[in-house]
């Protein structure tokens, strides 16, 4: 089944004001930067964005925050972003902070047909407020619900025309679970190849989870914290 769309414009057709989007990535690593650029161009508003982080002021989801397109962020960590802080403190932006492992599992559950699950993470903290508590093996756990999205937008290293995806290094992070949890999943890849080119043994995300795939025009792949050793 051919999932290929011509370009980023075609990939994001159907995204409307008020929708819920999942955006893959950890920090600026493995984010769908071409699609984020297109979302800014489209000017879609009142979006709920599910993403581990919120980018920095001038890159990633930070660009959508600058354009005031985001109504609500569902994330685990949102530092390094002044505009985010300003909008959050002024009440323009709703923020739902979720433990990182619970966020990952809630996306996975959403794609896997599991409506909710119990986890020990957050028990006894404000994250547990209003949530059902049950004790398993003598340890209290809280009930967390699955997350899904109208569109999940992920970034992969290589993909084929069937939508099969391979990620590189730590750029995998949230992308595979979010790909599973989108009603429509869009994959932007660095390299798009014909079906049969990628080794089926090496596929990380099977094409069934991907509805649209395209090769991104340009990847800046910005580094947030450049740390190095001195050459010996």
């Amino acid at each position: 089944m051919n999932k290929v769309v011509k370009n980023v414009e075609e990939a994001l057709v159907g995204i409307q004001d008020g929708m819920t989007l999942m955006l893959g990535g950890f920090g600026l690593c493995g984010i769908p930067e071409n699609s984020i650029g297109q979302l800014v161009k489209l000017g879609t508003k009142n979006l709920t964005c599910i993403s581990n982080n919120a980018g920095v002021d001038d890159f990633g989801i930070g660009l959508m925050l600058q354009a005031k397109q985001v109504k609500k962020m569902i994330s685990s960590y949102v530092g390094e972003n002044d505009e985010f802080e300003r909008q959050m403190l002024s009440g323009e932006l709703e923020v739902d902070l979720i433990p990182q492992g619970s966020l990952a599992e809630r996306c996975r559950a959403g794609g896997a047909g599991i409506p909710a699950f119990f986890t020990p993470a957050g028990y006894g903290t404000e994250v547990a407020e209003g949530k059902e508590v049950r004790v398993f093996n003598g340890k209290p756990h809280i009930l967390e619900s699955a997350l899904t999205a109208d569109f999940a937008i992920v970034k992969a290293w290589k993909g084929d025309t069937e939508g099969n995806l391979i990620f590189k290094a730590a750029a995998r992070n949230f992308n595979p679970m979010m790909a599973m949890a989108g009603k429509i999943t869009v994959a932007e890849v660095e390299e798009l190849v014909p079906a049969g080119t990628l080794d089926p043994n090496q596929i990380h995300t099977p094409g069934i989870f991907v509805q649209r795939i395209f090769q991104g025009e340009r990847f800046e792949k910005r580094i947030e914290q450049r740390t190095v050793r001195k050459n010996a």
């Binding site: 950890f26 920090g27 600026l28 690593c29 493995g30 581990n52 994330s75 685990s76 960590y77 949102v78 530092g79 802080e85 959050m88 403190l89 923020v95 902070l97 433990p99 990182q100 492992g101 619970s102 966020l103 990952a104 599992e105 996306c107 996975r108 986890t119 020990p120 993470a121 957050g122 028990y123 006894g124 903290t125 404000e126 994250v127 290293w157 990620f167 590189k168 290094a169 730590a170 750029a171 995998r172 992070n173 949230f174 992308n175 595979p176 679970m177 990380h204 792949k221 910005r222 580094i223 947030e224 914290q225 450049r226 740390t227 190095v228 050793r229 001195k230 050459n231 010996a232």
Partner: protein
């Protein structure tokens, strides 16, 4: 003399056991990797999806796709693996990671930890800290004994919003190694030249002090 941050990290490194998988938090915990004792082999887990994390890359060899949980460019060691965030936290929640070392703003005598939020200040989020402390069998907190205002961070009860309850087993500060047992802090070791009196005066929580408190030993 009180330890510096590297000294705290070096003392914590003495707790490492051969064959352990270890998750190090941001700050002092990261420094533990610099002091792995001779003959001990451990593998570092980074919760964004790496087992077998190595040192920072040489200049010019940075890879934007290869970062740690602090978003710093890093390398991998031979035998490393990459995985998604759900698998990463399965390792953590499923207790496959033997030791977690993290920083804290406050620790209480029943093992509660607060390290993610100060009311009235910008909330950045808990990241993976709540998942890590909820499940790890062995959690060591690396921190200074007092905050910048000189107030003890070793408390009867935490005053800040909690990250986890009853989870911390050991605290290493610039002054002492403390164990948490039966709802009390127990003084295990003191930093070289630091008096028991100083530790008592800077500890707000209940502290059990044995007759003899050995000094930390560094090779």
């Amino acid at each position: 003399m009180a330890l510096d941050k590297n000294g705290i990290a070096q003392r914590i490194a003495q707790e490492l056991k051969n064959g352990w998988y270890v998750n190090l938090g941001i700050g002092i915990p990261t420094l533990v990797a610099n002091y792995i004792p001779h003959g001990i082999e451990v593998e570092f887990q980074s919760e964004n999806g790496i087992l077998g994390m190595g040192p920072f890359p040489f200049e010019g060899e940075e890879d934007a796709d290869l970062i740690n949980a602090g978003k710093q460019t890093i390398t991998t060691v031979p035998g490393a693996s990459f995985f998604d965030s759900a698998t990463s936290f399965a390792m953590i929640r499923g207790q496959h990671v033997q030791l977690t070392v993290l920083g804290a703003m406050e620790v209480s005598q029943n093992g509660d930890i607060a390290n993610w939020k100060i009311p009235g200040k910008m909330v950045k989020g808990m990241g993976g800290a709540m998942d890590l402390v909820a499940s790890a069998e062995n959690i060591i907190v690396a921190m200074m004994h007092s905050n910048k205002a000189g107030e003890s961070k070793i408390l009867k009860e935490c005053t800040l919003p909690l990250t986890g309850v009853g989870c911390v087993k050991k605290v290493v500060t610039e002054l002492a190694v403390l164990e948490i047992k039966d709802g009390k802090f127990h003084l295990i070791e003191r930093a070289p030249g630091v008096s028991v009196e100083e530790i008592i005066s800077k500890t707000e929580g209940d502290l059990v002090v044995p007759d003899v408190v050995p000094e930390m030993h560094f090779d």
